[in-house]
């Protein structure tokens, strides 16, 4: 089907399904997700809690905790090779080396009994044939690169001696120490204050540009998406509901869910009107309605939405949406 547009993609996820084995039975938390991360660009993956965005990201490097999670179906193609079927030793050569990952909570991702420098050096030595001194020098260099003051001293700090922003910088330094081609960042700034968030996003943008790195940025913040991403995939209830270049997502969203999220941002120009709010709640995992999963919160839903699950299809140039009644583009653009 939509396999034509894979030319410039460094990473391509095809029809990924992730199951959670729970006491309530098997729940399909990610249900047929297809995505591409273009070479040298940033893909933003947007969605609310439980939409499956983090499970999708973890699947790429086979970091899902199993049980309860298990990839039931799909492919994750990195330069044409399926990471999901790669033997573990081969995957280990890619993980942390050519594809690196940054998580939301830097405290729980760092080992509390090793210094920041030692942890970065270990990551270097896992993939590069260098001695201790060279690995240590690389660690200090990386700490400097991510904007940590006095990096020689900070390299000897333990995680608990660092602030949240510093720890996230250490995580980024560790992720980037082997010059990965792809960085997967799962809510990398959500736990941070806005001024620190601005520093970290600036850092990521700068590094991406200077190193031609590709990035998959998972976030719920549309402001972060607008300022950081080139392409956007919007997820809802285990599915991708819209995929488009960032300009189209904000200027002429096709899926009512995307449009609703954008409309609920307070507009500060002019009258303070009541906020637009998407009614209802994000459906719980496994309690998804039949047909279109957004239909019971959608003001455009009709009878067909309950019966037929809309496929993700091209709607406009470069823009895909899974909707029977997509939002029309504004007349003048």
């Amino acid at each position: 089907m939509a396999e034509a547009a894979t030319a410039g993609a460094l990473l391509e996820i095809r029809d990924l399904q992730v199951e959670l084995h729970t006491a309530r039975g098997v729940l399909r938390a990610v249900d047929g997700v297809s995505l591409q991360v273009p070479r040298g660009k940033t893909l933003g993956i947007v969605g609310e809690s439980g939409c499956g965005k983090s499970l999708t990201a973890l699947s790429v490097l086979r970091l899902l905790r199993a049980p309860p999670a298990r990839v039931a179906h799909g492919q994750v193609l990195f330069e044409g090779r399926d990471l999901l079927s790669l033997p573990e030793p081969e995957l280990r050569r890619i993980r942390g080396n050519r594809i690196a990952m940054v998580f939301q909570e830097p405290m729980s991702s760092l080992n509390p009994v090793y210094t920041a420098g030692a942890q970065i050096a270990e990551a270097v030595r896992a993939h590069r044939p260098v001695d201790r001194a060279a690995a240590r020098a690389r660690a200090v260099e990386m700490l400097r690169l991510v904007g940590i003051p006095a990096p020689e001293e900070r390299a000897d700090s333990y995680p608990h001696q660092l602030s949240g922003g510093m720890r996230q910088r250490v995580m980024i330094a560790m992720a980037l120490c082997c010059d990965p081609e792809l960085l997967i960042a799962d809510e990398p700034t959500t736990a941070l204050d806005v001024t620190v968030q601005a520093q970290i996003l600036e850092l990521l943008r700068g590094l991406q540009r200077s190193r031609q790195m590709s990035m998959a940025l998972i976030t719920h913040d549309l402001g972060v998406v607008a300022e950081t991403c080139d392409e956007v995939a919007v997820m809802y209830a285990g599915r991708v509901v819209e995929r488009a270049p960032v300009g189209d997502i904000f200027r002429r969203p096709a899926h009512p869910y995307t449009a609703g999220l954008l409309r609920s941002i307070p507009r500060l120009e002019g009258e303070r009107e009541r906020l637009w709010a998407i009614p209802g709640a994000v459906p719980a995992l496994g309690a998804w309605p039949s047909g279109c999963r957004f239909r019971d919160r959608c003001d455009r839903a009709t009878e067909i939405c309950a019966r037929v699950d809309p496929p993700l299809e091209p709607r406009r140039e470069g823009q895909l949406a899974a909707c029977h009644h997509p939002v029309e583009a504004p007349a003048s653009a």
Binding site: V194, L222, A281
Partner: protein, 337 residues
């Protein structure tokens, strides 16, 4: 001496806070000797009028939550004054405080952690009626159901337990409990930051409807600057235990005066990919409130800092129009030596 220009309306405010300080002792060693103090709130003055919302913004560790809790005396302030409708709260004993507690309530960030998991929704929302002996039996049940209805929740919620509810529903329960006894003041500490984006707007609308219907006053504590601008009449910016700028919401966002406010506002990502902006990137991070820097608390990160900032603490200068800023750059001409 109280501040010359605390944010808020000048006459008959509902809440008046003057030079409030809340310091926590740092104890170390076997004997728990006090080795210093965390100055979480360090000389804050503010006013909130009836039906008004004062937005309180600042980064984690700036003391905004402690300030909110000190106002309600959920933590004991070290010194200073808190007056609700002219009544001094800091001097009251627990018994005398109790009738005043009805008039001021709190909405918390984490709608799960703040609801007792062993109680049903009906019990949680009905608890204030029981504690203050306002209503019992069928009357209490009727009033709880009416509150749930006002929150947009059906009667079937009455017997549910907190874990059966979504985040948005739990926050509605937290709000129902807070407004049960018709308070005049609500301190809302990050009430929407734990919620999904699509739910945040619902709760914001609910808070603003309740304000219109009941003339509630809010102390709205949040780090989401967009929501604060939308909801607030006035906004105060906190940094290291002090208010560094306060103004009517529109003035603060349109022409921020304090370098910290300017940096904070410029750091907010804008959901418009076509808008290119210049961002003021701050160096460094928030210093520890147990060892605040001398002089202006912001000077180590301030792009405009000069010698005086390292030596003197700038007072909150009245800039007219309800705008105040604690920065030497904003010092009115007349005051300059």
């Amino acid at each position: 001496m109280p501040d010359p220009s605390p944010p808020g309306p000048p006459e008959r405010p509902l809440l008046e806070v003057s030079d409030l300080r809340t310091h926590f002792p740092i104890r170390r060693g076997a004997w728990g000797r006090v080795r210093g103090h965390v100055r979480a709130v360090d000389g804050v003055s503010l006013r909130i009028g009836r039906g008004e919302t004062l937005g309180l913004v600042g980064e984690s560790g700036c003391g905004k939550s402690t300030l909110g809790r000190s106002v309600l005396r959920l933590v004991e302030p070290t010194s200073g004054s808190v007056k609700l409708d002219g009544v001094e709260l800091t001097a009251l004993g627990p018994r005398a405080l109790r009738p005043l507690r009805r008039r001021m309530q709190m909405v918390f960030q984490d709608p799960y952690g703040s609801l007792n998991p062993r109680m049903s929704v009906g019990e949680i929302v009905g608890e204030p009626f029981a504690i203050h002996r306002v209503a019992s039996g069928e009357e209490r049940r009727r009033r709880v159901l009416r509150l749930l209805d006002q929150m947009g929740l059906g009667p079937e919620m009455y017997h549910r337990a907190p874990h059966e509810l979504s985040g948005g529903q739990r926050q509605r329960i937290g709000i129902a409990r807070a407004i049960a006894l018709d308070p005049e003041l609500i301190v809302a500490d990050e009430p929407i930051s734990a919620l999904d984006v699509s739910i945040q707007a619902q709760i914001v609308n609910l808070l603003s409807d309740l304000q219109k219907e009941r003339g509630l006053s809010y102390l709205f504590i949040a780090h989401d600057l967009k929501i604060v601008e939308y909801l607030s009449t006035r906004v105060a910016v906190m940094y290291l235990g002090k208010i560094v700028e306060s103004a009517p919401a529109e003035a603060l966002y349109r022409s921020p005066k304090h370098p910290y406010t300017q940096a904070l506002l410029s750091a907010v990502p804008v959901p418009d990919p076509e808008r290119k902006r210049t961002r003021i990137l701050l160096g460094g991070e928030l210093p520890s409130p147990s060892a605040p820097p001398p002089g202006c608390p912001f000077h180590p990160r301030c792009p405009h800092a000069f010698d005086r900032c390292r030596a003197e603490v700038p007072p909150l200068y009245d800039l007219g129009g309800g705008h105040a800023s604690a920065c030497f750059l904003n010092e009115p001409e007349a005051v300059r030596p």
